[in-house]
C-alpha cells in the first residue's frame, strides 16, 4: 500500500470533507442545517415525551432539555460515525480495491463530516439556550477539550470497526445491535441518579464518559478529574489498538474484498 505522509492525508481529508459540505449546500439550500433540524426535532419530541414520563425523577433538575440535547448530540456523532464506518466497504469498494486513497482518509471522511454536524449542533444548542434564557452557561475550554477527546476516541473506534467489518461480514449487524441497545443503557434520556443505589453501574459504560466530558462543560459544570483521566485512558488505549490493528492488516485489506 502506498502510504503517504500523515500530514498529506489530513490535508486531503479536510479538503474532501469541505467539498462534501459544499456539495451538500448546492444540492439543497440548507445543506448540513437539515441534519441539525432533524436532531433538534428529535430533542424536542424526546424531551417532551420523556420529560413528562419521568417528571417525578427529574424533579428539580434545571435543564432537562439541555441535558438531553447534549447527550443526544454526542450519541448521534458516535452512532452515525460507527454506522458509516461499518458500511465503508460497501460504499467505497472501488477505492479500497484500488488503494489509491489511504485507508485513514476513507475512515476520516464520515467521521469528519459527522464531527462538523456535531459541532454545529452544539453551537446551535448554545445559541438556542441563550435565546430562551439569556444566559451563556457553557465553559469554553473544557468543552473544546471534551470534543477533541471524543473525536479521538470515535476516530480510533471507527478505524478498528471499519477494518473488522471488511474482514468479518457479520460484524456490522452485531455492532448495530449493540448500538441500539446501548442507547437505552446510557444516561441520555435518564440521569445517573435514577438508578438509586445502582448508580455505580454507569461507571462500566464507556459511552458515559464520552458523553459526560462534553455534557458537563456545556451545562456549566467542570467535570470530575476522574472523568478526564478515564477518557484519556480510553483514548490512549483506542489509539494503540487502532495503530496495532492497522499496521497488521492494512496490506491484507485489498485481498478481503
Amino acid at each position: 500500500m502506498i502510504d503517504p505522509k500523515l500530514k498529506n492525508t489530513l490535508r486531503f481529508s479536510v479538503y474532501v470533507t469541505w467539498t462534501d459540505i459544499r456539495n451538500g449546500f448546492t444540492r439543497n439550500r440548507l445543506g448540513t442545517l437539515w441534519n441539525s433540524l432533524g436532531h433538534f426535532a428529535a430533542v424536542g419530541l424526546l424531551g417532551v415525551f420523556f420529560g413528562s414520563i419521568l417528571k417525578e425523577d427529574i424533579g428539580s433538575h434545571p435543564n432537562y432539555l439541555a441535558f438531553l440535547a447534549t447527550g443526544l448530540f454526542v450519541w448521534i456523532f458516535l452512532s452515525q460515525s460507527i454506522n458509516e464506518s461499518c458500511s465503508l466497504f460497501v460504499t467505497n469498494a472501488p477505492s479500497l480495491r484500488h488503494t489509491a486513497q489511504p485507508f485513514v482518509a476513507l475512515v476520516l471522511k464520515p467521521v469528519l463530516h459527522n464531527l462538523l454536524i456535531f459541532i454545529q449542533n452544539i453551537v446551535l444548542g448554545i445559541i438556542f439556550y441563550f435565546t430562551f434564557t439569556g444566559k451563556f452557561i457553557s465553559i469554553f475550554w473544557p468543552l473544546i477539550f471534551g470534543i477533541v477527546i471524543v473525536f479521538g476516541i470515535v476516530l480510533c473506534l471507527c478505524m478498528v470497526l471499519a477494518i473488522g467489518c471488511i474482514r468479518f461480514r457479520d460484524l456490522p449487524q452485531l455492532v448495530s445491535g449493540v448500538i441500539h441497545v446501548g442507547f437505552f443503557l446510557t444516561p441520555i434520556i435518564w440521569m445517573e441518579h435514577f438508578l438509586g443505589r445502582y448508580s455505580y453501574l454507569v461507571d462500566f459504560n464507556p459511552a458515559y464518559y464520552l458523553i459526560s466530558i462534553v455534557r458537563e462543560p456545556a451545562l456549566g459544570s467542570m467535570p470530575n478529574p476522574a472523568m478526564w483521566l478515564i477518557s484519556s485512558a480510553i483514548l490512549a488505549f483506542g489509539a494503540v489498538l487502532a495503530a496495532y490493528i492497522y499496521a497488521r492488516t492494512v496490506q491484507k485489506i485489498p485481498y478481503w474484498l
Partner: protein, 250 residues
C-alpha cells in the same frame, strides 16, 4: 533513479468461506476451542502470480502480454506497490501511479476539478500548485467541459484521461496501464505518446498491458509474456513480438 526489481515474487489471494467470514464463529471458537460449523476447506489460496523475477531499468517501457486471467493485473498492482507479494521481494524505486480498470479509486461524489486538487494535496502540493496543475490537465486532455461534473457520471474515457493526466502532471515517474487504452480515441493516444516521448522523464518507467499492436509499437522497448501466473518470456520488444505477437496481440 527509478527501477523495479521483482525477485521470486509470488502473490496469493485468499478466498474465505462463510465460516472464516463470521466474527461470531471465530469468537465462539476462541472461547470454547471448537467451532459451531465445519471449517474444513473454508479458506482457499489462489496463486495469482508465481515466482516472477524481473528487473526494469530507468527508461524501460514494458509491454505485458498474456491471456485473460494470467495475472497481468496482479503483476501491475505488485509493480506499483499497491499489493505486497505474499512471498518474494518487490523493490520499487520511484513514484508509481497505477491506471487500472477496476474503478480508478476516486470518490464518486466529488467533481473532476475537486479530485485533481485533492490528489495534489495528497501528493504534498500546495493549493496554488494544484490550481496550476488543474488547468494543465484540463487543457491538455480537453476535459474543461467536464470540470464541474461528479466522477460518478463521467464516462470511462474521461476517467482514463483524468487518471493519465494526474500521473503525468503530478510527476509520477513509474506509470502502469492495465488494459485501459480501449477507452482512448486516436487523439488521446497521440497526446499520450507525444507526452511520453517528450515530457515524461527519461529515466521513468512505463508498463502497459494491452492487446493492440497499434498502441504498443512505437511506445515499448521491452516485452514480457505471462502464462498461468508465471513469466514465460521476457526480452526486447521486437524479438518477443516476432515470437509471440500473433498469439497475444491484435
Amino acid at each position: 533513479m527509478t527501477s523495479i526489481n521483482l525477485n521470486w515474487a509470488t502473490d496469493s489471494f485468499p478466498f474465505y468461506g462463510v465460516w472464516n467470514r463470521s466474527f461470531k464463529q471465530r469468537f465462539v471458537q476462541a472461547l470454547t476451542g471448537e467451532g459451531l460449523q465445519d471449517q474444513q476447506g473454508d479458506k482457499q489460496l489462489i496463486e495469482a502470480i508465481s515466482d516472477i523475477t524481473m528487473q526494469l531499468a530507468p527508461g524501460d517501457k514494458l509491454a505485458i502480454l498474456g491471456d485473460n486471467g494470467v495475472g497481468k493485473t496482479t503483476l501491475l498492482r505488485v509493480m506499483s506497490g499497491l499489493l505486497k507479494p505474499s512471498s518474494g521481494i518487490a523493490h520499487i524505486d520511484g513514484t508509481p501511479m497505477a491506471i487500472l480498470d477496476i474503478g480508478f479509486g476516486f470518490d464518486p461524489s466529488m467533481t473532476l476539478s475537486h479530485t485533481i486538487t485533492a490528489y495534489g494535496l495528497l501528493r504534498g502540493k500546495t493549493l496554488s500548485e494544484t490550481c496550476r496543475t488543474e488547468n494543465a490537465i484540463l487543457d491538455y486532455f480537453s476535459l474543461s467541459p467536464f470540470a464541474n461534473r461528479q466522477i460518478r457520471i463521467l464516462p470511462p474515457g474521461c476517467l482514463f484521461r483524468l487518471c493519465t493526466g494526474l500521473a503525468f502532471f503530478y510527476d509520477a515517474n513509474i506509470i502502469l496501464f492495465d488494459e485501459v487504452f480501449d477507452a482512448a480515441g486516436p487523439e488521446t493516444l497521440e497526446k499520450i505518446k507525444n507526452y511520453i516521448a517528450r515530457e515524461f522523464p527519461a529515466d521513468g518507467i512505463i508498463a502497459v498491458a494491452e492487446r493492440s499492436r497499434a498502441i504498443l509499437t512505437g511506445l515499448c522497448n521491452k516485452a514480457l509474456v505471462l502464462e498461468d501466473g508465471r513469466l514465460m518470456d521476457i526480452g526486447e520488444f521486437d524479438a518477443i513480438m516476432a515470437k509471440h505477437g500473433d498469439k497475444y496481440t491484435l
